[in-house]
Chain length 541, copies 2
């Protein structure tokens, strides 16, 4: 079989030629492009309550067509369809990739190795619904009979970043029934800070790890077990696990309050719509809200699956990301939601996108010779305007996703300033920034000159309802996997994190030996490592 | 006077030549460089309880010497000295730059235009000390006679990011007497979320704006005034301002509970050690803690001012930043503190560095032809390892600052996992990551191969005490201004944010007209802008 390379596709050469227009000719400056009458309508896409404007990206009709050709030549939509239908497209780990199945409301059967996994996933969800209802009613309560008020999510990376994003967004429109806290870091001060914020008697601990061997999570679990014990509380009243069937966290010899299954066909960074997000979000906002969130995810999944290349929003966003990184050579991407409620979107997408695409090999295992993966960062606007937008306007340019929410949550009494309400002021800024970055401004004084030609997209969602948040989450998931299909990498593995683990284990063994016998020296030739270990064990600089 | 250009310095050409070694010769791969016996000692610097290891940066003794030459040729230390002594080095705004004066404990007199500004600054601090003491004692209390429990900081950009970083860091080791909340964003949902977290009767509002005209801050002030009024509370009991003398926020016709001065010789992003951070931090942790923080800042200032090039830590860090961005062509920089307490360092430094250096003109006002300003981003480790470190190891490389804290705050009962305590596990990871990125690992399978040669520095501070946090803050301030001096830009202005403000004002005027007369159409030729305004006023997508 012919091995895949992005740069061996016919459209690649076409795009490479076209990129010269944009790099060399002032005619193709955005300030000219956006003057075209029908540009906004030709370079924007919408679906039910989701709007995507790419008219301020540095492209024209020729580029758009070549990108569509690229999508066809790379068979991006076929790959997406394979994914949704359970083919083992995570080739390096020989796994199916079925986060879309967790919210698939269009069918009732999807076989994987003879098991109907839709049934399996729905059983988990029913259990989540029943359990969260029992917690809210008080039927499930603490060792001392008190109702639960707080839950601490003990999990790292994909086991909390997506959940944290959705939890924070939803908490703007709904008061949580159970307040969530996050304990990802092995840093003991993360633990110390969390236990200041909860009451032991009314706190549930939700340990999330597929293998139940993640070093950080297991270390924190041990602190939690000691903490429960010292407070006279029992794990079988206070501990919940979300883990793979048969893992040490699913062992009846270690009784827990409840255990929910996660599956090897859903990767951590794509797991928000599985039990990983489902249980915490149902505890916080009720199972019904979680289902509305799933329906938003599913609506976007269907769009991503069924829309042809030219009208497919996540695929278009992925094509633009590839155009920006591989042809216009932007190494970074800003995520700027004009919404405080979405302030954890950037850290979530940072993991989702960078861990999926920051690879050196194709899915065939061969070294790649073109850029894969951008650096993703961002803060909410208008805050970002008062932070790093100086550089966005006058330093090295980077493409931006602006995200606007049509309806704010707060509708109580408001006053106008300068004749407008705050939400209007917020939008005035969002609109103005995208335009200012695109058009720039000439000035005889170089200090007051703005080169412009800085690309952005603008995404609108209707509100921060669970459904809208679901659409936004699924949009960024689909954009990421589409980018992976276009680049020809496997967006579902993460072998790049192995080396650090191996070296940490060596250092841990030295520490362990010294913990057992304080008189031991460190058997480490590297002077830097020895210095750090000496300093740590001395306890001061 | 000859105009300054980094690339016209003698050392520039030397560095440019030297960079070829590192780009082309495998001999200069970090895996070889760090084998040298004395490398760690030759490429690390320390001062009292602050340690800086740059042995894993891609440089050698020749580069180090050429960088020192560059510092001398650009007169970086003379510029720093001019700054500390009150020369008007913010040339575009004709202002002195005296954030170091807010913590200058070495002298009693520093004249600026005939005023001893040290006396002036100390008077502000005395007032902060007295006021915060009165709040803690209950002598200053709410309209209804209750003691204050919370304070909301109403300010954006430099008026909150630094304070938020220090507040969060200190809150790990001390329980705040007054809990802080932050209301930067004009987003009405930011306001809506904040008022859910406070009790009106026991909440103080601290409005921070030098000019008292910042659009977002004034819009939020108006919401706050309406909120106080609707709760039967008076601004002269609940509102505090930090603003320039004579601004509308310092007008006796609008009585407030207290008002503290800020000065035009301290820019927002450098203002944490002024009243901008001083009042909130003194309210939270006591004036004594704030003073210990200042002493840490001052200690680093003295080091940055007095140490020669070869042993000056912030200057060395700035030289390495310039080496990485301008010679080795890295466009980004990661900030990875292995400490939850420092989780707001990256957003603070993001503003500090990107707004200071993301410029297109030299301080002489001429267009620059070399990179200025990197994109700064980061999350705490080990969280970052489970997020974007896949890309750090196998995608496009970026330099990293690792930051370790020798002593954690939490010292209560802990259990070991895999034979080590959590804090040890944290350090095992920090040490391992820096090494893994540097050395990499060859493997016949490209998917398991790590190219290595990825640079990092490691910074150690002793603890999260106010003094240590002060040193760290001042280190990053000094590093940033030194980078500005080396690059020849003015790190103290931010004219790049003007264009967006002008365009936002135009859009605001359209909104205002429509608010007055709903029948009005929008007088805007751009179809995109019209669509956004229509959607906003319709209130749904």
């Amino acid at each position: 079989m012919k091995q895949f390379r992005l740069n061996q596709q016919e459209a690649y050469a076409v795009l490479n030629n076209l990129s010269n227009r944009f790099k060399r000719s002032s005619e193709y400056h955005l300030k000219h492009l956006i003057q075209e009458d029908d540009r906004f309508h030709r370079f924007s896409l919408s679906m039910d309550r989701f709007f995507y404007d790419f008219s301020k990206q540095r492209l024209d009709a020729d580029v758009k067509q070549a990108l569509i050709d690229l999508a066809k030549q790379t068979r991006a939509r076929q790959w997406f369809s394979k994914m949704v239908n359970g083919e083992r497209i995570n080739c390096t780990e020989d796994r199916a990739v079925l986060h879309t199945a967790t919210r698939d409301m269009s069918r009732n059967k999807l076989d994987l190795d003879g098991t109907n996994i839709l049934k399996q996933l729905r059983q988990v969800n029913e259990k989540i619904g029943a359990f969260s209802h029992q917690v809210h009613s008080g039927a499930v309560c603490s060792t001392t009979g008190k109702a639960f008020s707080d839950a601490v999510i003990v999990g790292i990376g994909g086991s909390y970043l997506g959940c944290e994003f959705v939890y924070q967004a939803m908490s703007y429109s709904m008061d949580p029934k159970i307040k969530l806290h996050f304990l990802p870091n092995v840093d003991i001060d993360n633990f110390g800070q969390v236990i200041k914020q909860i009451q032991p008697e009314t706190c549930m601990w939700v340990v999330i790890s597929k293998s139940y061997t993640t070093t950080e999570t297991m270390a924190n679990l041990n602190q939690v077990l000691a903490f429960l014990d010292s407070n006279g509380l029992k794990p079988d009243d206070h501990l919940v696990t979300i883990t793979a069937k048969g893992s040490p966290g699913d062992n009846p010899d270690n009784p827990v309050l409840a255990s929910f299954h996660m599956f090897d066909f859903i990767g951590g960074r794509y797991s928000v719509s599985s039990a990983v997000g489902g249980l915490p979000l149902s505890l916080s906002f009720g199972f019904e809200s979680f289902n509305r969130f799933l329906s938003g995810c599913h609506q976007m999944d269907q769009h991503a699956l069924n829309q042809p290349e030219a009208t497919n929003i996540p695929l278009t966003a992925a094509l633009i990301a590839v155009w920006n990184s591989n042809f216009l050579n932007y190494p970074t991407q800003g995520i700027i939601p004009y919404a405080s409620a979405l302030s954890k979107l950037a850290p979530h997408f940072q993991q989702l996108n960078m861990e999926s695409l920051g690879k050196t090999v194709t899915r065939d295992g061969k070294t790649i010779g073109y850029p894969t993966g951008s650096i993703i960062f961002g803060e909410p606007g208008t805050n970002a305007q008062h932070s790093f937008f100086q550089l966005a306007h006058q330093g090295s340019p980077f493409p931006i996703d602006f995200i606007g929410i049509v309806r704010p949550v707060f509708t109580n009494k408001q006053v106008k300033s300068k004749g407008v309400y705050n939400h209007q002021e917020l939008w005035a800024n969002m609109i103005a920034q995208a335009r200012a970055l695109a058009v720039g401004k000439d000035d005889p004084d170089p200090a007051k000159s703005f080169t412009g030609n800085r690309p952005s997209s603008t995404i609108l969602i209707n509100d921060v309802s669970p459904k809208s948040i679901g659409m936004l989450l699924s949009f960024y998931e689909a954009r990421t996997v589409y980018e992976g299909f276009l680049l020809g990498v496997n967006p579902f593995d993460q072998f790049g994190v192995q080396l650090g683990k191996v070296l940490a284990a060596k250092i841990r063994r030295e520490m362990e030996a010294k913990n057992r016998d304080a008189n031991l020296g460190f058997d480490i030739p590297d002077p830097a490592t020895r210095f750090y270990l000496d300093t740590l064990f001395k306890g001061e600089l």
